[in-house]
Point group: C2
Chain length 259, copies 2
């Protein structure tokens, strides 16, 4: 009986820090679009940012890395904490109750009650953003969830304040574009200047003059032209470029002024 009590009282509250969650805004670049990874529990209608909780024995940053790996299947990702979301009513309790009803498999009442106590508490959430190479992730990572890339221009209405978290991630990156290696992390080793420009245009939310951009980026010496071209059927071929890794790292450390 004591053993059973032990088993039943085992819960999120024993494993995780109370009231703190993490949400990850994971960016990738593919086919001319900047994308964000969203997931959805089976039987629940709203998409949400991949997230999780902090184990009692790990740091918050370690938790973010663990969650990111579990949601993408890859390690060593560029990952930065950017904001704590602490509004009193950032989560709608009724929305969470709805989520629980849909998510819960038929379990004992006691287990459901423990789970409910956990999920219906007030949560503050630490926002992280991450950049991954699109090709490196094979979806779905977890068969019990629906996971998809969404173009940043076509994000649906999300669970809780997750739309606000995405907006804040993008405005943070915009404000620190000179020290965040977004192009470097998002692009494959060989890329076209059009691809790089589109990334900057999306974050800045404005069109950049093609020739000006090209002139500026080349004048920094951060990228160099390869002896290869990219050719898509029916299109003109485009020159391929690579980053000068050493110069790029220096530039990010000391700040680059492109825009």
């Amino acid at each position: 009986m004591e053993h059973n009590e032990k088993r039943f009282s085992f819960s999120q509250a024993d494993l995780f820090l109370p009231g703190i969650s993490l949400d990850c805004v994971i960016f990738s670049f593919h086919d001319g679009n900047l994308n964000i990874l969203l997931n959805r529990f089976l039987n629940y209608s709203k998409w949400m940012l991949p997230g999780g909780f902090v184990h009692r024995e790990e740091s918050v940053d370690e938790a973010a890395a663990r969650i990111l790996t579990s949601r993408t299947g890859i390690r060593d990702i560029y990952l930065r904490q950017f904001h704590l979301f602490g509004d009193r009513n950032r989560i709608n309790i009724e929305e969470n109750r709805d989520l629980l009803v849909n998510k819960a498999a038929a379990e004992t009442e006691q287990v459901n009650a423990i789970r409910e106590e956990w999920f219906l508490q007030r949560f503050i959430s630490v926002g992280y953003f991450a950049f991954v190479e699109f090709e490196k992730i094979n979806l779905p990572v977890n068969p019990r969830e629906d996971t998809q890339w969404f173009d940043v221009h076509a994000i649906p209405v999300l669970y809780a304040d997750h739309n606000k978290i995405i907006d804040k991630a993008i405005s943070t990156i915009r404000g620190q574009l000179n020290s965040i290696p977004i192009g470097y992390e998002l692009l494959p080793e060989k890329f076209t200047l059009t691809q790089l420009r589109i990334i900057y245009e999306t974050i800045l939310d404005k069109k950049l003059d093609r020739r000006n951009f090209q002139r500026k980026i080349l004048s920094t010496g951060l990228v160099y032209k390869l002896d290869e071209v990219y050719k898509q059927w029916g299109y003109k071929s485009s020159a391929l470029y690579s980053f000068d890794k050493e110069k790029y790292k220096d530039a990010i450390k000391n700040g680059i002024s492109l825009f």
Copy 2:
């Protein structure tokens, strides 16, 4: 008896979100020095950043504003969240036990036990920085604490990870100097360009050429010269300047590139 039980079980845990604290790095500028406000409990040797906890019914940002007002006596302060400190061992439990022993007035064992349970839990801490005008604060605000300004170049070894929190505040401001109105918030209405330069030098941790700085700052149109001079006994008189508030706000919004 029930009434008493109620009274005894009243504790931090009933009022505040568990496991979350705030720490405020409050800057002022005075007499050629950039200063940070530190406080110390009576009978406890280590200085610490002014901080506190989050009420269950307020947002984290509201808690920061409330704590800042209670520690400085003033309202409407420039205040920004900058980082969450979430390392597993950022607080030394023995240090906290020490603090408790010294802080606790002789109270009932039960009250002390409740307080101990609260203070010996793991805390993550949200860092905020704030800029205040030195002249506006009259110390000490609270007679039960020792409160002092410390030159940023002469910060002692602080409680927990508070030295690290200060370092991170300064490096964050440095990285976002083009969009953080540090001079505007720290200086009185009339100031000398030397005062403004010293603030930038301190944050950037390097000397700036006096004439270059003057030329650059004047070319932005953000400051204008007044028909008054500042005269200190035995020194040459210096021209006084003011910020063009409208231009300054625009510049901060869109980014200024001084350095």
